[in-house]
């Protein structure tokens, strides 16, 4: 790997880091497989591992900052975190953050119980659909897909996807609208019980979100990401997370 840029950290202000040499990554720790608590009790996840590698290459120290999703904008604006990097959907938030180029394709999908008989988005008519509060899926269903949402019996929100799946299991909701990789992760324990509708709600992209105007830092991270993809680091990371629903085909940078 190339760590030739590490000297740039000596001039901290040009990095755009709040605390020189420390890269504070804000993320939702309840959002596997992108950021979560691993079996060993420490933070892990696809996005966090990418962030760690970026730090390695830039000579920064990574700082994991699990945040309350409600406070993410305040955390970023106030400089408590340097970026939000956590399966963070660009679409619908284009103007709110300074984004890297999209690094990953994502789909918003609908998960139903296999026995439910629901096979298409049209079948969701009259059904109860649940999604996470302040999630990309919710933004979508209140925006571009509002017409579809209007056919639902109701659209519910809940703080954690985890709980949403409990609701789905016990039958109090009929479907969960969710990011594809998260859906894969959630159903990985009993894949036969659930079906991801082949018809997706949308195709969208993840990016790393920085405070508006912080292009310096964005550029550094983006350059490093491209490097990491080019030298194969990303590919092997994708393979590591393959059983949790991530494939290198979705990765967009440096190909």
């Amino acid at each position: 790997g190339s760590t030739s840029n590490s000297n740039s950290s000596s001039d901290s202000s040009s990095d755009g880091l709040t605390t020189p040499g420390t890269f504070a990554v804000g993320f939702d720790q309840d959002f596997p497989p992108y950021g979560y608590v691993g079996d060993d009790g420490s933070f892990t996840g696809f996005d966090l591992e990418l962030a760690v590698e970026v730090c390695n290459r830039r000579g920064w120290t990574i700082k994991y900052v699990p945040i309350d999703w409600d406070a993410k904008d305040m955390e970023l604006d106030s400089g408590a975190i340097d970026c939000i990097w956590n399966g963070f959907t660009i679409n619908g938030r284009e103007d709110d953050y300074t984004w890297t180029e999209p690094y990953m394709d994502n789909s918003q999908v609908v998960v139903v119980k296999s026995t439910s008989g629901i096979e298409s988005l049209a079948d969701l008519k009259g059904k109860i659909v649940m999604t996470q509060a302040d999630s990309a899926a919710l933004t979508l269903l209140q925006g571009d897909q509002a017409d579809l949402a209007a056919t639902f019996s109701s659209l519910e929100t809940i703080p954690e996807y985890d709980t949403a799946f409990m609701e789905l299991e016990q039958g109090s909701v009929d479907a969960v609208a969710i990011d594809l990789p998260v859906a894969n992760y959630e159903i990985s324990e009993s894949p036969d019980a659930y079906t991801i509708l082949s018809e997706h709600l949308s195709e969208e992209q993840y990016g790393v979100g920085f405070k508006l105007g912080n292009t310096t830092l964005r550029d550094e991270v983006q350059t490093t990401l491209v490097e990491m993809s080019e030298d194969g680091f990303v590919k092997s990371l994708c393979e590591k997370y393959a059983d949790q629903g991530i494939s290198y085909e979705q990765f967009l940078l440096g190909k």
Partner: protein, 217 residues
């Protein structure tokens, strides 16, 4: 989003908060009295049971109690509850939780009434139920009102916990707006709502206290 839309969203949430608030009180104020009776009963096993109930309700987070009530029937008993159960579960958990707090307040109130009151009623021939309803209860109510007020004010804020099982009350609405608008405005409005709601509750309780202030001791 216009301020009007925001207010109307918050208003909807407020309505849910108010419903939780109202039904919780309607359910837990009387239930708490029954629990207090159990706590004061001379039948020891009942007393222990009630003590355990009170200690669990007060010793564990209401959020977990919401989970247990909402998901328990399916995960523990295999029952399908249907989606209407969401609000019902909220009310059940809130009522059970608050009944425990109220029970302890009632109990201390009942215990604080001088024994002479019961004796006087006894000598005058009042039955046990007459003594309780006519003599003891009104005095208990007067004494416990300040403590009840405290709990009621806590309840106003606790309604926001209902979102743990997906009930979108006011604070959740405020959070949703704040997130989509990238502004604290909704939070500030929510705080103002709470503050006003609390002020109204405090005012109402003060009126009730004043009402009962026609006598003292």
């Amino acid at each position: 989003m216009t301020t009007q839309t925001m207010l109307s969203m918050l208003g909807q949430g407020m309505l849910v908060s108010l419903q939780i608030f109202f039904w919780t009180l309607v359910g837990s104020l009387p239930l708490g009295m029954l629990v207090a009776f159990g706590r004061l009963s001379r039948f020891k096993p009942l007393t222990w049971l009630v003590r355990a109930y009170i200690s669990i309700m007060r010793g564990t987070p209401l959020m977990l109690q919401l989970f247990v009530v909402y998901f328990g029937p399916y995960y523990l008993l295999g029952l399908e509850t249907g989606s209407n159960y969401r609000f019902t579960a909220t009310l059940i958990a809130f009522i059970l939780n608050y009944a425990a707090y109220f029970a302890e307040i009632y109990r201390s109130g009942i215990e604080s009434i001088p024994h002479g009151q019961r004796e006087a009623a006894n000598v005058l021939g009042y039955s046990r139920s007459q003594t309780f309803i006519k003599i003891i209860l009104p005095q208990v109510i007067k004494r416990v009102t300040p403590a009840i007020t405290n709990e009621v004010i806590t309840l106003v804020k606790d309604t926001s916990l209902a979102f743990a099982i997906g009930v979108t009350e006011m604070f959740t609405q405020a959070k949703a707006i704040a997130a989509s608008q990238h502004s604290m405005e909704a939070f500030v409005l929510a705080a103002a709502f709470y503050y006003v709601f609390n002020a109204i509750v405090a005012f109402a309780m003060e009126r009730i206290e004043k009402r009962m202030a026609y006598y003292h001791e």
